[in-house]
Point group: C2
Chain length 409, copies 2
């Protein structure tokens, strides 16, 4: 039968990202890739995970681990998250926490509860590609979130009306962002809350990289600031904090969470019940066990390894990049964001880089909701050895110099 | 902030089912419950699962098990499913299989790709409550699927137009259905395909209970019939077959699948990528291992235990039900469906049964998209011992007799 005829509009709009298709070609072993944004498997706490599976499958716990469970999530894990949130200045109870299958699933559910077609989502240019993917399924318009700008609040309303709906939320990755690696300063976070107050919209704080801090003391999460503004009462806040164990423990278990006012969590629990009943019981139990036992040690280990790779990449960029190229100096996370001279196209550079220099990265355009950012690219240092970094960034410099000469010609 | 103001319409329509709220009260240990529709935890293949986790976490496999993986699912598991499908007369390739987080997730994704608000879904009266929950998020209208009826095809079109959209699919549970336990005869399956051909819509075949057959030879799945109609070519079919490991191995791992034409699977892969990236890698690897090693033995064990409980429940009903009460005699699955005399309300009976007789079941109204079925109820025998069945069904008879006298007064 002609499937396209019966698919609803929103699904027809979903197309395989060209970038992802391109990146599939990269599994050739001689390519030095800075493309993937995944954790280094060599750093997984495999021993602790193995012990935890054995433990939750022994004795009476096994029946619980293998059985259906409540949509809200495994209570001891929610309790652990409550404790973790407290260390970030987020005072909440288990009723404010929903466990999900990775924080990506939270983004899907938030699209589902907030967005009717033609509503507007505010996102930074650039922003997390997976957030655009999750939201796109609900057919929103996008408007640009530019912290600290002087743009009149009414212009957000006007643009949203013109697009056919209302502004529903502002989404951002304040901590060591994917893709730029940047940290949103305190003043910018307050600015986002001010804007959200004026627009009376929700704030989605994607904190997937929160724990991967390599320098400094860190800035208070937006939800913590929101709670402080509301006399310590999370129930009055407008911020939804999305957390993940994928960058700290192991993505293959698919466990993340969202913290928000209980009325939002209750709504999300209904969405989750209808969508997949609950996240894997056994994996939630294992994560609870592993988090309680090794999280602090594990984060120290990740910080030591990743920060050394970041330093190495920054040094290599300093050495190898031609004049006119700029890049971020991330305080954490997995990414460095490179801005090329105007007129140099990241996608064209990638094609040449793969073909002639056997290196790869992600061109920056895909991270821009408006299709801008052609002269940007994302480098990930999380899985790269020092040798790969030195050699690969050197080759990137060569590829870039050639491309810049071509662009100037 | 006032959250309800910003939630999109579809989420506002989602409310906690009263039945589920009521059933939460049932965790009191002295209540004999036939309410839950879950597998008996005592029958989980815990030993095989434990060995499988240890295996996939040893050696090189651990890095794969704990890492991100492709949205399509773990290839060896998809290959195993292809083999399993062949035994049911469904000739397919791995490209026709997507792994999901339980078959519930397939229903959510199918709602997402097929349903625009006001489109019509055809479902039986009664049907699986969780399917209604999944579809409701996409705001469809429902029309009644009554196999073998002589209703004019044009009346489906007309009703859907009147509701503001188009008929998008027919959903059914042909095998040992939740909630009725009934099997759809071959002629009814062919009728569904005829109707779907005439309406040019998809057929969603929910086969969650497929393996739990206690009598007879089983009937060919609708997808198998559809393939046969199309010269053996699954790519030309309109049926989507949803399978699950939750009833055979363990629901706590959240692994299910969908089999369909590759063009549908490709669309669903995009939906899954945007919604939660992929299902738990390690759990997919464990299920692949356990399925290959113990599935046949496991199914034999489930059949022996559950069929004995079904027999016991049917015998108890025979003994204890007052005249005027009818019930199904399921050939498989977990449920018996009881029809009370007109005027006796299942929800009222439940309230009285919990209060005065300490027994529980699910009133049938919630399974009806049109709110009918007040005089029906669902009994599950999957977790009930012989003693519980004898005692509980006896009490149900007492409760019912009292309620029927009241109704007659």
């Amino acid at each position: 039968m002609d499937w396209d005829q019966v698919f609803a509009t929103r699904a027809n709009r979903m197309k395989a990202s060209e970038i992802r298709e391109l990146l599939k070609l990269l599994e050739q072993p001689d390519i030095i890739s800075f493309a993937g944004g995944i954790p280094d498997a060599a750093l997984f706490p495999t021993e602790a995970v193995t012990a935890a599976y054995a433990k939750v499958l022994s004795g009476d716990q096994a029946s619980t681990a293998l059985q259906y469970s409540v949509s809200e999530g495994y209570r001891p894990l929610r309790d652990w998250i409550v404790g973790e949130m407290k260390t970030l200045g987020i005072d909440c109870r288990a009723e404010n926490v929903l466990i999900t299958s990775g924080s990506q699933q939270v983004l899907d559910y938030l699209g589902k509860i907030f967005l009717s077609p033609k509503d507007t989502a505010l996102v930074t240019w650039p922003t997390y590609l997976g957030a655009l993917g999750a939201f796109n399924a609900y057919e929103p318009a996008y408007d640009r979130l530019t912290p600290m700008s002087n743009r009149e609040t009414s212009t957000y309303h006007d643009a949203a009306s013109k697009a056919g709906g209302r502004v529903k939320f502002a989404y951002c990755v304040p901590e060591y962002s994917n893709p730029t690696g940047e940290t949103m300063p305190l003043a910018a976070r307050e600015w986002v809350l001010d804007l959200a107050d004026e627009l009376d919209i929700a704030v989605i704080e994607d904190a997937a990289y929160q724990s991967l801090r390599y320098d400094g003391e860190g800035v208070a999460p937006i939800l913590a600031l929101d709670i402080a503004r509301n006399g310590g009462d999370i129930e009055k806040t407008r911020t939804l904090y999305c957390g993940s164990f994928s960058k700290t423990l192991a993505p293959g278990l698919r466990v993340g969470w969202v913290v928000a006012a209980e009325s939002v969590i209750r709504k999300l629990v209904l969405v989750k019940q209808a969508a997949d009943l609950h996240s894997s019981t056994i994996n939630q139990m294992v994560i609870a066990e592993v988090a309680a036992n090794v999280m602090d040690r594990q984060i120290e280990r990740l910080r030591a390894t990743y920060s050394a790779r970041r330093d190495r990449m920054l040094a290599a960029l300093e050495r190898s990049m031609p004049a006119g190229v700029a890049w971020t100096r991330p305080l954490g996370g997995m990414f460095v964001w490179v801005t090329l001279p105007e007129g140099v196209d990241g996608a064209e550079l990638l094609a040449a880089a793969i073909r002639d220099f056997r290196i790869a990265f992600v061109p920056g355009k895909a991270f821009h909701a408006d299709g801008s950012g052609a002269n940007t690219l994302r480098l990930s240092f999380s899985c790269a050895s020092f040798e790969m970094i030195d050699e690969g960034i050197g080759r990137l410099g060569d590829a870039l110099r050639r491309e810049m000469i071509k662009a100037a010609a």
